[in-house]
């Protein structure tokens, strides 16, 4: 992992982490209504695992960024529906609906996009300050 030196590393990587989060939310929402013929085949919602990456090992200088280190499948049980006419129904006439809570995903989507925006805002502000610093004394 490369060093974390400036705000472009800090906020840029945090934005990448938030994008991973938004991608998992998109996958979850896209698969929300899916039906499967067994419990194992049913889709389960994916969640990213965030971790803080410090610029120095001893955490002295307070500079850190976020990283999505892993994406895990939640262990929620898919909903069992009795639909004997469904083509993918099992022998007993059950289908298994994807274990995705749509409301929860919406809330998380809003939070992720808000935090993405915050990081963009930080970069924009600091970039402006840098530009002004470069033209100092002119």
């Amino acid at each position: 992992m490369a060093d974390i030196n400036n705000v472009f590393d800090i906020s840029g990587r945090a934005m990448a982490a938030q994008l991973v989060r938004l991608n998992t939310i998109a996958s979850n929402l896209a698969n929300a209504g899916n039906l499967a013929s067994s419990e194992d085949e049913a889709y389960r919602s994916l969640k990213p695992v965030f971790e803080t990456k410090y610029a120095d090992e001893v955490r002295k200088n307070g500079i850190a960024t976020a990283q999505a280190v892993d994406i895990v499948e939640t262990n929620r049980l898919p909903e069992k529906l009795y639909l004997p006419d469904h083509p993918s129904a099992d022998d007993n006439g059950f289908v298994y609906s994807a274990a995705v809570n749509i409301e929860e995903e919406y809330v998380e989507m809003m939070e992720a996009s808000r935090q993405y925006q915050n990081n963009v805002e930080v970069i924009t502000t600091l970039r402006t300050l840098m530009m002004r610093t470069i033209s100092m004394g002119k």
Binding site: N6, V7, I10, S11, R13, A14, A17, Q18, R21, F50, E51, T52, K60, N61, G62, I63, A64, T65, A66, E111, A112, Q115, N118, N119, V122, T125, L126, L129, R132, T133, M136, G137
Partner: protein, 128 residues
């Protein structure tokens, strides 16, 4: 006689400290969603006093011991959350955004002071 460096020194140090604090606040905002992250901040007032030599103990004689903290990282502190969250994260976006906007404004102020001093020097050099 004061050198040009001395003339600009204070605001240059202020600018450096503000920039460092901006990075720390950016780190806090970047980690707003990371569980167990503890928000940190820089005690600017304390730090700038050390740069300026106006601390509680001032070394005015060569025989005085310099008691100023040499390590610039020691004055980082952890932020106390107003509403602690369940995941152990102490970043509060409203607080961080407020501090960030204040800090960047003050950075611009220091920059403006520096610019004015440079402009003053330039007009003195030109003799206009």
């Amino acid at each position: 006689m004061k050198s040009i460096g001395d003339h600009l020194n204070f605001h240059a140090s202020a600018l450096q400290l503000r920039s460092r604090r901006n990075d720390i606040l950016a780190s806090n905002i970047a980690n707003a969603a990371t569980p167990n992250f503890k928000a940190r901040d820089l005690n600017y007032d304390h730090q700038i006093r050390q740069v300026d030599g106006i601390g509680p103990l001032k070394a005015t004689d060569s025989k005085h011991f310099n008691v100023a903290v040499k390590n610039p990282h020691q004055t980082l502190f952890y932020r106390q959350p107003i509403n602690p969250s369940l995941d152990g994260n102490t970043v509060e976006l409203s607080v961080e955004q407020l501090e960030f906007s204040e800090n960047s404004l003050r950075y611009q102020t220091s920059l403006e002071f520096l610019n004015n001093r440079i402009a003053g020097l330039m007009s003195a050099i030109r003799g206009e």
